[in-house]
């Protein structure tokens, strides 16, 4: 039930945003996030964006893991 899907913000209007993943769009509320910008990735749960994805952190984690994989 605590599933949340990463979706990209394509439009913002006040406390509402349009988000998209794999061609599917949805209207969500962004009341919990103070600094959402177009192009951001947010985790969407039950019609509400509950967190912004730190894309820098995500890329860094992946790069580190891939580096370790290549060493093995």
């Amino acid at each position: 039930m605590c599933l949340a899907i990463p979706m990209r913000v394509t439009q913002i209007e006040g406390a509402t945003a349009i988000v998209e993943v794999s061609g599917i769009t949805r209207k969500v509320r962004i009341d919990l996030l103070s600094d959402v910008e177009l192009g951001d990735f947010v985790l969407v749960h039950a019609g509400l964006a509950i967190a912004k994805i730190d894309t820098h952190e995500a890329e860094e984690t992946l790069a580190l893991l891939k580096g370790l994989t290549n060493e093995i």
Binding site: M1, C2, L3, A4, I5, P6, R8, V21, S22, R29, D31, L32, L33, S34, F41, L43, H45, A46, G47, L48, I50, A51, I53, D54, T55, E57, A58, T61, L62, L65, K66, L68, T69, I72
Partner: protein, 363 residues
């Protein structure tokens, strides 16, 4: 799906598995607290990658599963009031009450609607002013902000026909009760990543400080799950216990301040009854008196008080939820209780431990 599929890279999963095999030299029982973790581990077959002696047990983090029978019966009873529409997340549709499920009630003519967001229920109330719209507020901290926002929105729109039957639970109090009971011996915990986006990792500091149990806040993709397991096993090997944030792309140490403000405006802590765990002090939230107009427990108090005490169920979901037994140890599992004919909520819920074990094996 960006920031989802990259974390399903099987080469990375295998490389972490290899590292894990290098760490672990002793048995470990790790509880995956969240139902979404249970399903992810089962669906991706992760248990087969662990060294011998390392096992995962499901915890109390499936909201559908921990909802008390009495609360399900009470919500179902509201459907008998003429002019009422019961609105719920789809997860609750097939959960059996003492005499019926929402799905069976719908078949019998009760107005039952399924929505994706509680805000959709507010829209139904606005569109159909002749209906009393009651939403079943089930879920942990991941979900409570959406319910709070729905109540706030209904108040702003001056709706008088929207209310929530609130059985929300909070995770840290349940974990404290579980660990303090001494009944369940776990070596470490995978903490729920999405709950923690709302409450922050510091909410769990007491687990490391008071109970000295290693923890990893964990995301839901296979790479995330393996990183969580690796962190717990590493802490065990080093004799360490901390709250390791392995889901840093979404989770920080502090609570989300806007979510906290919203939740504090609408809700206040209360004791809550958990299936399998009993009543745990301050482990739930109720709607504050300022918003009592939107509290179905207040609005329909007479009907809810008249609901008979739920009979004791034969199923052992309670023991499964405490991690005290594995699903297959319940005598009903796979015989009388299956996903097509479920008896207990752990088999009904798509992320229940019994459903995961029945569907994917390896319980």
């Amino acid at each position: 799906m960006k920031y989802s599929h990259e974390f399903r890279d099987w080469e990375i999963v295998q490389s972490i598995a290899e590292r894990i095999r290098g760490i672990s030299n002793r048995p470990a029982t790790i509880m995956e607290v969240c139902g979404t973790h249970t399903m992810s581990a089962a669906r991706f077959g992760l248990k087969s990658l662990f060294p011998d002696g390392v096992r995962l047990v499901a915890g109390p983090g499936c909201p559908v599963c921990v909802t008390a029978q009495q609360d399900i019966d009470a919500f179902l009873a509201l459907g008998n009031i003429p002019g009422t529409a019961l609105v719920s997340f789809g997860d609750m549709l097939r959960v059996p009450g003492s005499s019926a499920s929402l799905e069976q009630q719908r078949a019998a003519g009760v107005d039952v609607r399924i929505v994706y967001s509680p805000l959709d229920a507010v829209d139904i109330a606005a569109r159909e002013p002749e209906k009393q719209v009651v939403f079943f507020g089930v879920g942990f901290e991941t979900t409570t902000p959406a319910i709070a926002l729905a109540i706030k929105t209904a108040a702003e729109r001056d709706l008088t026909n929207f209310s929530v039957y609130c059985v929300h639970k909070t995770m840290p109090a349940a974990l404290r009760a579980l660990l303090a009971s001494g009944e369940v011996m776990v070596s470490g915990l995978l903490l729920p990543g999405h709950v923690t986006t709302i409450i922050g990792t510091r909410a769990y500091d007491f687990i490391a400080e008071e109970f000295h149990v290693p923890c990893a806040v964990t995301g839901f993709e296979p790479v995330d799950m393996m990183l969580g397991i690796e962190s717990v096993l590493k802490q065990l090997a080093d004799g360490d216990s901390k709250i390791d944030n392995m889901y840093a792309r979404a989770v920080s140490s502090d609570a989300n301040p806007l979510a906290k403000k919203l939740l504090d405006t609408i809700f206040e802590p209360c004791d809550a009854e958990w299936r399998g765990l009993g009543v745990i002090p301050a482990s739930g939230v109720r709607i504050r008196s300022e918003y009592s107009l939107f509290d179905a427990a207040e609005r329909f108090a007479d009907i809810i008080k008249a609901v008979p005490v739920a009979p004791v169920s034969k199923c052992l979901c309670g023991d499964v939820l405490r991690g005290a037994i594995q699903p297959a140890q319940c005598p009903l599992f796979g015989v009388d209780c299956t996903t097509s004919n479920p008896i207990g909520p752990c088999m009904v819920s798509s992320e229940g431990a019994c459903a995961a074990a029945y569907r994917y094996g390896g319980s």
